[in-house]
């Protein structure tokens, strides 16, 4: 998997990998220095893993919500992420402001979600596999249109000035502000979503929809509207994820497949349909995957997919998934 959070470019006064570390020790570095260095490096990798988890959380929470409420597996979710990133890029080109770019990306993808839901999804009346296949077709459409608009060259989003600097943490760790920003945004959105789902009436309706759709309809709630809103929310989260992700990962054709794969592994590990599962899954998969890539590059794949395999063997419904439909 190409996606991992690399060691921050500015942050290397000390050895980055264990190999370097061993070499430094061999060159006579005192042991306590080496240990502290290793610890610092571990902290950096943990932060990297959390950043990756943050982006994965944004993408997978949208995916799992849509699945939970509407039983739709939106294979185009990764493409919407990519689209969000691209739209943010163009907006930044025009307006020069990252935050506006992120906002526009989210709104645009949310709008796209509304359109898709009203035109396509509605026609398939709950035929789950048909919906999945239809979203597969959308992947090609979105990818191709994106290719036409933004070309095939990898793009990156630049963060506003102050976020391009780094902060020095106690212990001598230097970490880019941009990544803290991602962590903060992801955490804020996570808290907001949690509040929305657990503490508001709308959230209760959504959760009820996950548990028992026909009942919700029977209670006189406009289920259609709920569906549209949920789908739009899912798309919004993907779009915002794309804008943020675009600062760390390059945006290019095929990036959507990678992020989709991550999201799928996360939701399977966490449990399809479970919001808390998306949180837990993101943390597990993000951290493990990043540690794997950093410490055992040759086995990086297995770091990503090992949780998937273990879950399928031991608890196929996911860590926080419900056993029954």
């Amino acid at each position: 998997m190409r996606m991992h959070i690399g060691a921050p470019a500015q942050a290397v006064p000390f050895p980055v990998t264990s190999a370097h570390l061993s070499a430094s020790l061999a060159n006579g570095m005192p042991v306590h220095n080496a240990v502290r260095t290793w610890v610092n490096q571990f902290i950096v990798q943990t932060l990297n893993g959390l950043t990756l988890a943050g982006i994965m959380f944004l993408v997978s929470s949208g995916f799992t919500l849509v699945f939970g409420v509407m039983r739709i597996t939106n294979l185009a979710h990764g493409a919407i992420y990519l689209l969000g990133g691209y739209i943010a890029y163009s907006t930044i080109q025009v307006v020069g402001n990252f935050f506006v770019g992120m906002l526009v990306a989210g709104l645009a993808t949310a709008l796209l979600g509304v359109v898709l839901e009203r035109t396509l999804i509605k026609r398939m009346r709950g035929q789950v596999m048909a919906e999945l296949l239809a979203t597969l077709g959308l992947v090609y459409v979105i990818n191709d249109l994106a290719l036409a608009t933004w070309g095939g060259n990898p793009l990156s989003l630049t963060l506003p000035g102050f976020l391009q600097n780094s902060t020095t943490l106690p212990g001598g760790i230097v970490y880019p502000n941009g990544r803290f920003f991602i962590l903060v945004v992801a955490a804020l959105i996570g808290v907001f979503l949690y509040y929305l789902l657990r503490r508001t009436r709308v959230g209760a309706i959504v959760r009820a929809g996950v548990d028992d759709r026909p009942m919700v309809g029977a209670m006189g709630i406009n289920v259609r509207l709920v569906f549209t809103m949920v789908f739009a929310l899912g798309a919004l989260l993907a779009g915002v994820g794309g804008a943020l992700g675009g600062t760390v990962f390059t945006l290019a054709p095929n990036a959507d497949a990678e992020i989709l794969t991550f999201a799928l592994v996360v939701v399977i590990v966490g449990g399809l349909g479970s919001f808390e599962g998306a949180v837990l899954g993101s943390l597990i998969v993000g951290l493990l995957s990043n540690y794997g890539q950093a410490y055992f590059p040759a086995l990086a794949y297995f770091a990503l997919f090992a949780p998937l395999v273990v879950i399928l063997l031991v608890r196929p419904q996911g860590l926080l998934g419900r056993a029954a439909a």
Partner: protein, 372 residues
Amino acid sequence: MRPQSKVVTGAPAGQTESGTRQSLLPRLLMAVGAVVVLVIVAVLLSGGGFAGQLVTQMLVFAIAAMGVGFLGGYAGLVSLGQASMLGLGAYGVAVAMAKGFGPWTAIGISLLVTLLVALVAGLLAVRVRGIGFVIMTLAVGQILFGLSSSWVAVSGGDNGLIIPLNPSLGPLDLNDPIQLSFFVLAIFLVSAALLWTFVRSPFGLSLQGIKSNEQRLKTLGYSTRTHLYIGYVISVMFGGVAGILFVLTNGLITPTTLDFGHNGIVTLMAVIGGLGSLWGPAVGSVVVILFQQDLSLYVERWATVMGIFFVLVVIFAPDGIWGVGQALVRRLTGQSSRQPTRSIRGLPEGEPQGPGTPTDTELPEPMTERMS
């Protein structure tokens, strides 16, 4: 040639006069059509050149798509990882030859490796149904994709691997493109014949039963997981065989062939053509490759057109092109009853993350079972 000809009158299969007569005309049409197509294909192949190459690729991908159509249409499990299995088969040959094995040995090694991967991946894959299965196959496909590009020592990285030499089969020199393409045609026909046999066997019937109602099959004495496992392995092997032919006809294999886009395309071929029909996926392969080759000459955004076409097929023609054709023939020959559809509509959702067996925490079946 059609897998099963259903007699839709009330009489037992094939016993009344009118019954046999009604099912004879479509069969005759099919046979005539098949001969015509075969002749066209043979002519195009013997002409060589670009057209011959194109038809050859259609046949190669048709084999892969048939694997998807078999598992999806008959067992109800849709795979999104078949291109990766094709790639695995291709890499198997290429890597073996790069390590110095002769072409036939390399082909044998490739088949063995594909079989092993199928056996292992299958153990995991059949633990889930419906969407969960789709995701599993996607994940396996992505693992293979990643390996193909990052395990540089073995796979040659992003540049891929080249085949130095094709084998010869007795008097047949498979280095000659035209002879090779007829070899591909032969393998395609053998694959189709195998599939036809499987579908008509008790095993094939059991898969359809599982697709209809897995729980019921269990209470009829079937260990459904075993049956699905076997079906999965068969489906993957079709992909592997297609991969061998792919690398022989193209001379090289790169990681791109295993990416998500290609995996989706093979599934697209099966669905557009028609899941659950023997020849549907082959038709789908022709249509999709034509999109890629011919449409791209006129329309730069051919992929968008293809994507939209696919969505329209899923919504309006869930039986695929073959299904539409069947419906047309039925109307023309006067059979009006609806045939059982083995289409997208019949795909079981299943427990996305469970094998379909109630666990300890599940409520009794009748309460959650949908009223039929």
